[in-house]
C-alpha cells in the first residue's frame, strides 16, 4: 500500500514512517504542500495522511486538501487528517471540509492501522 504523509515535523514524519513500514506500507514523506503535490503526480497512491500545521509561511493541510480535490486522479484516494489540533470541535470542522478521517496526535496507531486495513477491503 502506497501512503503519502505530509508532515513538517521531521521526528513525527520519521516515526510515522517507521510505524507504517512495519505494517507493510510504502511511506512517502512530504515536508510541505508543494512537495506533496509533486508526489501525488508521480506516485500511485492508496492513502494520503495530512498534518494541518505545516509551518510558517506554508500552505496548511486544509489548503492542500482543496488542491487535492481539484485533481481527478485523486478522486477515489482517501485523505486523513493527522494533527495536534485536538480541541473540542476540531474533528468536526476537519471532517466538514472534506477529510475522510481524523486522527489526533499523539496518534493512536491501533485505530489508524485498523482504518488503513479497511481501505484495501473496500
Amino acid at each position: 500500500m502506497n501512503i503519502l504523509y505530509v508532515e513538517d515535523n521531521k521526528i513525527n514524519a520519521m516515526v510515522m514512517d517507521k510505524m507504517l513500514s512495519k505494517n507493510n506500507s510504502n511511506v512517502f514523506i512530504a515536508e510541505n504542500g508543494s512537495q506533496a503535490l509533486k508526489v501525488v503526480k508521480e506516485k500511485n497512491l492508496d492513502l494520503i495522511l495530512v498534518d494541518i500545521n505545516l509551518g510558517l509561511n506554508q500552505m496548511d493541510g486544509c489548503e492542500l486538501l482543496e488542491r487535492f480535490k481539484k485533481l481527478d486522479y485523486l478522486e477515489n484516494i482517501p485523505v486523513f487528517a493527522v494533527t495536534a489540533y485536538a480541541m473540542p470541535g476540531d474533528e468536526q470542522r476537519f471532517i466538514k471540509i472534506g477529510f475522510d478521517k481524523y486522527f489526533s496526535k499523539p496518534v493512536n496507531f491501533d485505530k489508524l492501522l485498523s482504518a488503513i486495513s479497511t481501505i484495501g477491503v473496500s
Binding site: 515535523n9 521526528i11 513525527n12 520519521m14 516515526v15 510515522m16 517507521k18 510505524m19 512495519k22 500545521n53 505545516l54 509551518g55 510558517l56 509561511n57 506554508q58 496548511d60 486544509c62 489548503e63 495536534a84 489540533y85 485536538a86 480541541m87 470541535g89 470542522r93 471540509i97 489526533s104 496526535k105 499523539p106 496518534v107 496507531f109
Partner: protein, 732 residues
C-alpha cells in the same frame, strides 16, 4: 357817571363811544348814532330791539350772564362782545355796564383790532411768524394782516381776494385747501391744516392754518383765521422723522399730536390731533400745566419732571420725555415726547415745540418681547449645558452665560456686544458638522448630532447637539436654536461597557487560543515521544535505538519549551502589578541579551553582530520585562534564519530609543503580521492557524513592550528577511 336823557342825546353824538341805554332784559331804549353801524341797513330802527339780536351766537350767553351779575351792590361790570357787520367783518366792542335806576347804561369802545389780535393769539400762541386773516362768506371779502403778507413775501398794499390767497398753494393742494374753507362755512366747524406754499418770491414754505367760524343766527357770517410759518418746525419734524426712523411719526398705527408750550406765558397750544388723542374737548384752547400734570400717571410724574428739568439744563436742542397719560375714560397709555426747545438770548428755554406720540402698543409689544426674552434667557441658562440662538446668517443672537464666557476666553470676542458668526468661535473639528446640521435646520429639519471636543483641561468631552429650527408665523425659519448637552458620562459608561464586553470577549478568545495553541504545542512533541517509546519496545538495532533516543530528547526539549512559555503567560497579569521601574542603560541591557544568544547563532553559522548607540541611551523601564521581550525577538530571528545574518542595532533620536533586530531569514508575509503579534484578534476558530508556535512568544513581547510605554513594528519580505523595531520613549 349817569346822564339825563337829554344830556345823553347831546353828548353821544360827539363821541366815538357806542352808547346804549337798555332795560334789564336787554331791550334798547336809546342809542347814539354810531350804533346804527350794527344794523344791516340804515333805514332800520335800533330802538326797541334787543341787543342780543346783534351779538354773535357765541357771545349771547356771556351777555346774559353779565347782565345778571349787575345789582345794587355791584353796579358796574365790563365785558367784550362781538358783532357781525355786513361790510367790514366783525366789530368788537368792550362794554361798561352801569346799573342805574333799574336801567342799564352801556358804553362800548371799539376794540376790533385788539380783538383780532387777541383771536390770533388765542388761536396760535405767538408762533414765530403769524398773520391773521378774515373772510366774509357773504360778501366774499378777504382781509389779511401784515403778517400774512410777510409770510407770502407779498407787498402789504396788494388788495387781497380769496383766489389770490389760494394761488400760493401748489396746484395739487389748492383744491383741498379751498375745500376746507367751504366745508367750514357749510358745517360751521373749525379746521386746521399744515400745507406747503410757494411764496411770491418763489420760496417754499410750510404754513399752519387755523380757522374758526363766527356764527350769527346759526349762519357763518365770518371766518377768523390765522396763518403761521411753520417751515422751521416742519423741517425739524422732518429731520426728526429722518433721524429716528424707528420712532417715525408716520409709522402705521402710531398716533401723534403736536403741541407748542409757551413757557413765558405758561400756556400750551395743542393741535386737534392732540386733543383727539387725549380725549380733550376740541374747543379747549389751553390746558394748564397743573391740569396736564394731573393727567400724568402718578408713578411716572417724578421721573418725567426730573427728565424735563435735566433736559432743560442740556445744551442739546432736542427734547425727549416719556410717561403714561390718562385719557377721559381713566385709562393710562404710554406716550413719548419728541420735541425741540427754543431759547432766548440768555439761553433760557422759552418755548417747547414737539410731538406727543402714542407708543402704547409698542410698549406693550416691547414688554411682551422682554418677557419672552426673559423666559428664553431662563431656558438658555438653565436647561442645557450650552444653548445658542442663531439667526439665519449664523450670527449669534443669544447665548448662555457659560458659552459667552468660553467665547470671550477662547476667541477674545464678546458675542453680546459685537456681531459674531458662530462658525468663527467653534473648534475646527466641529465646523463641518455644524455647517451641515445648520443648513439642514435652515430647511426646517431638527437635527441631532454628537461630537467630541477637547476641553481646556485637556480631557475629552462628548456633546450631544440639537439643532432646532424656529419658525416665524409662517413656515419660514427665522432662527436656529442649538443646544449642547454634555453626555460625556453616558458616553464613558457606554464605552466602558463596550470595552468591558470586548475585553471579556478578548479574554475568552485569548483563553481559548492559548489553550488551543498549548494543546497543539504539547501534543506535537508528545506524539513524537509516545511513538518513539512504542518503537523502542520493538527496535533491536542499537544504532536505531540510539537515533530514536536522540529524537526522544529533542521532542522532550520542545515540550519543556512550551511549558515555560505557558508559565510566562500565566504571569502576564501579575507582572503588571509588580513592575520595578528604574533608569536603565539600554546599551548594556541589549548587549546582555545579545551575548546570551551568541552560541545558538554561532552553531547556525550566522553573521551575528551588535551596533550600540554612541551616546548612552537610558530609559525608565522594568529591565526584566524588557529583556524577556527582546530575548524572544532575538531568539525568533535566529530560529527562522538559516543563513546570512542577524544584526542587533541601537539608535537614539530626540524622543525615542530604537532597537532593531534585522535578520535575513524566511520572512513573514504581510497578511500574517497582525497574527504574529496579536493572537487576541485572531478569529477564535480559524481554519488556518499556522503561526501559533511563534505567535505566543511574539505576542508576549509586544504586550511587554507596550506595558513599558513602547511599541514594536515589523517590516518583512518573504524569503528575504525581517526587521523588528522596538521603540522605547527616551527619558534623558
Amino acid at each position: 357817571m349817569a346822564f339825563s336823557l337829554e344830556q345823553f342825546g347831546i353828548l353821544t353824538e360827539k363821541t366815538l363811544l357806542f352808547l346804549f341805554i337798555m332795560t334789564k332784559d336787554g331791550q334798547i331804549i336809546e342809542s347814539n348814532k354810531r350804533c346804527k353801524i350794527l344794523l344791516p341797513s340804515e333805514n332800520q330802527e335800533i330802538k326797541g330791539r334787543y341787543i342780543t339780536d346783534f351779538i354773535i351766537d357765541e357771545d349771547v350767553h356771556i351777555f346774559t350772564r353779565t347782565i345778571s351779575e349787575l345789582s345794587e351792590q355791584n353796579p358796574i361790570v365790563n365785558e367784550s362782545f362781538t358783532f357781525p357787520l355786513s361790510r367790514m367783518g366783525v366789530l368788537s366792542l368792550k362794554f361798561d355796564f352801569t346799573l342805574h335806576n333799574d336801567l342799564i347804561y352801556v358804553s362800548g369802545v371799539d376794540t376790533t383790532e385788539e380783538y383780532k389780535e387777541h383771536r390770533a393769539l388765542v388761536t396760535i400762541s405767538k408762533l414765530t411768524k403769524t398773520g391773521a386773516w378774515y373772510f366774509n362768506p357773504i360778501t366774499k371779502e378777504m382781509y389779511w394782516t401784515k403778517g400774512c403778507y410777510l409770510i407770502k413775501d407779498l407787498d402789504p398794499d396788494t388788495p387781497m381776494t380769496r383766489d389770490l390767497g389760494a394761488s400760493f398753494y401748489p396746484e395739487e393742494s389748492r383744491a383741498r385747501v379751498e375745500n376746507y374753507l367751504n366745508t367750514l362755512i357749510k358745517e360751521k366747524e373749525p379746521y386746521e391744516y399744515t400745507e406747503k406754499i410757494i411764496t411770491h418770491k418763489g420760496n417754499e414754505k410750510w404754513v399752519k392754518v387755523v380757522a374758526q367760524p363766527v356764527i350769527f343766527r346759526n349762519e357763518v357770517v365770518y371766518v377768523n383765521g390765522t396763518i403761521a410759518d411753520v417751515t422751521e418746525r416742519h423741517n425739524y419734524v422732518e429731520k426728526l422723522k429722518h433721524n429716528e426712523r424707528i420712532k417715525h411719526l408716520a409709522l402705521k398705527g402710531i398716533q401723534s399730536g403736536l403741541f407748542d408750550y409757551n413757557i413765558e406765558q405758561n400756556k400750551v397750544f395743542y393741535s386737534l390731533d392732540y386733543k383727539r388723542m387725549l380725549g380733550l374737548p376740541s374747543d379747549q384752547e389751553y390746558l394748564s400745566k397743573k391740569d396736564f400734570r394731573a393727567m400724568i400717571h402718578p408713578d411716572d410724574l417724578d421721573a418725567a419732571t426730573k427728565r424735563k428739568e435735566d433736559n432743560f439744563k442740556n445744551k442739546e436742542q432736542h427734547y425727549y420725555n416719556h410717561y403714561r397719560l390718562r385719557d377721559k375714560k381713566g385709562n393710562y397709555r404710554y406716550y413719548e415726547v419728541h420735541g425741540f426747545r427754543i431759547k432766548n438770548e440768555k439761553g433760557e428755554t422759552v418755548r417747547l415745540i414737539g410731538n406727543l406720540i402714542d407708543v402704547h402698543q409698542r410698549k406693550l409689544n416691547e414688554k411682551t418681547i422682554q418677557e419672552n426674552k426673559k423666559r428664553l434667557r431662563a431656558m438658555v441658562n438653565n436647561g442645557m449645558d450650552h444653548t445658542i440662538l442663531l439667526n439665519t446668517k449664523g450670527e449669534i443672537l443669544m447665548a448662555d452665560k457659560a458659552s459667552v464666557e468660553t467665547i470671550k476666553q477662547d476667541y477674545d470676542r464678546d458675542p453680546t456686544s459685537e456681531t459674531t458668526l458662530f462658525i468663527d468661535v467653534i473648534p475646527l473639528n466641529f465646523k463641518p458638522v455644524f455647517l451641515h446640521a445648520f443648513n439642514e435646520a435652515l430647511k426646517g429639519n431638527t437635527m441631532k448630532r454628537e461630537f467630541e471636543r477637547i476641553t481646556q483641561l485637556g480631557s475629552n468631552q462628548w456633546l450631544e447637539t440639537k439643532y432646532i429650527p424656529i419658525f416665524d408665523e409662517g413656515t419660514k425659519v427665522n432662527s436656529v436654536l442649538i443646544t449642547f448637552l454634555d453626555i460625556t458620562e453616558e458616553k464613558h459608561a457606554e464605552l466602558a461597557i463596550r470595552q468591558a464586553h470586548i475585553k471579556e470577549q478578548e479574554l475568552s478568545d485569548l483563553k481559548s487560543n492559548i489553550l488551543s495553541n498549548l494543546s497543539h504545542e504539547i501534543r506535537t512533541p508528545l506524539n513524537g515521544i509516545m511513538t518513539i517509546s512504542k518503537l523502542l519496545q520493538f527496535e533491536e538495532s542499537p544504532e536505531e535505538r540510539e537515533k530514536l533516543i536522540g529524537y526522544l530528547q529533542e521532542s522532550q526539549d520542545r515540550l519543556l519549551d512550551t511549558l515555560t512559555t505557558l508559565s510566562n503567560f500565566s504571569e502576564l497579569e501579575s507582572i503588571q502589578k509588580n513592575l520595578d521601574y528604574a533608569l536603565i542603560d539600554i546599551n548594556y541591557l541589549v548587549e546582555t541579551s545579545f551575548r546570551e544568544h551568541r552560541h545558538i547563532a554561532t552553531t547556525k553559522n550566522l553573521d551575528y553582530s551588535l551596533v550600540l548607540d554612541e551616546s548612552i541611551p537610558k530609559a525608565i523601564i522594568d529591565k526584566n520585562l524588557f529583556k524577556t521581550a527582546l530575548d524572544n525577538i532575538i531568539h525568533n530571528a535566529i530560529k527562522y534564519t538559516n543563513q546570512g545574518s542577524v544584526q542587533v542595532k541601537i539608535k537614539r533620536s530626540k524622543k525615542n530609543i530604537y532597537i532593531y533586530v534585522i535578520d535575513t531569514g524566511i520572512g513573514i508575509d504581510e497578511k500574517s503580521f497582525q497574527k504574529i503579534f496579536d493572537p487576541f484578534v485572531q478569529e477564535s476558530i480559524g481554519l488556518s492557524r499556522k503561526y501559533e508556535g511563534t505567535g505566543i512568544g511574539l505576542s508576549l513581547s509586544k504586550r511587554y513592550i507596550e506595558i513599558l510605554g513602547g511599541k514594536i513594528k515589523v517590516k518583512s519580505e518573504l524569503g528575504k528577511g525581517t526587521e523588528f523595531k522596538i521603540l522605547i520613549p527616551n527619558r534623558l
